[in-house]
Symmetry: C2
Subunit: 163 residues, 2 copies
């Protein structure tokens, strides 16, 4: 089967799927912010994503197998978005992006706390986090320790210290 797109290079193909200014922001918010519906993703967006762009990205990411959508039993109209195994495997990539951004951009201290923890924790922490994401998004058994909780707590502590 011939590879589609501009070339068969794996880096290129990754860029073709994720190389825009919003796709990974959406994945990030699902992953680290546990935002699961259109409304949550739109309202709590740190970067102020436009509603049409969000709708478009949810559609594309779902079509390419990085997200799934299931109806909310509480609310007919609402959909609940989940990560898939493919997007859960983006954890190391996002961790590295955070680490790089922390060093080479003017990142704010509070928002860098999670990136810092992930960097310090290394591959073992990423694995634990991925296991937890499999629990939250794919129905896998709940792991003992919550990395998600630790990241969240560190972030909230940093925000409190700032204020």
């Amino acid at each position: 089967m011939p590879p589609k797109g501009r070339s068969g290079c794996p880096i290129n193909l990754t860029l073709e799927q994720l190389g825009d200014r919003w796709s990974l922001i959406v994945v990030r918010d699902l992953m680290f912010g546990n935002r699961r519906t259109y409304g949550e993703l739109l309202a709590a967006s740190e970067e102020g994503i436009a509603s049409n762009v969000l709708a478009d990205r949810l559609k594309r990411l779902t079509a390419s197998g990085l997200l799934t959508r299931r109806p909310d039993p509480q609310h007919q109209q609402k959909g609940i978005y989940s990560l898939t195994e493919a997007s859960i495997q983006l954890v190391p990539l996002l961790a590295h992006m955070g680490a790089w951004g922390r060093r080479h951009t003017r990142a704010s201290k509070e928002l860098s706390v999670r990136a810092e923890l992930l960097e310090e924790g290394g591959a073992r922490l990423w694995s634990a986090f991925m296991e937890e994401l499999r629990h939250l998004h794919l129905g896998a058994p709940r792991p003992r320790r919550s990395v998600f909780g630790a990241l969240q707590a560190a972030y909230e502590k940093a925000m409190a210290q700032k204020a």
Copy 2:
């Protein structure tokens, strides 16, 4: 100093610099293909980058400190582009992108060979490769072993086997 851009999140800021379909392709070709001039980057581009887009990216990447340009002593008009420490530190990111693309996209076997080696080699191999890039681009001393050569040889072997 307040962070610029959409938000101070390090992942977001990384995306604002590199989140498009071409910037990392240019870095990849400089890094793994050792293409150092506009002409080399344009002619050997696997993905067929457009000349104006290449010119624009070289300008932007240089402006944001990911590349430097110095004149070619052999040829008045030509410039030689080099990676900087910041872009050399993208090695782990590109390695992960390759690894992810290899698993989750229809990457071609030949072009995946380098990604596979980088993935197997892990952090130690990345460090060695970065050391070598510092030699090639920043004038650091030449390291003993050439990762670049090994990657290149593996790629060429794969291409030969295909033909």
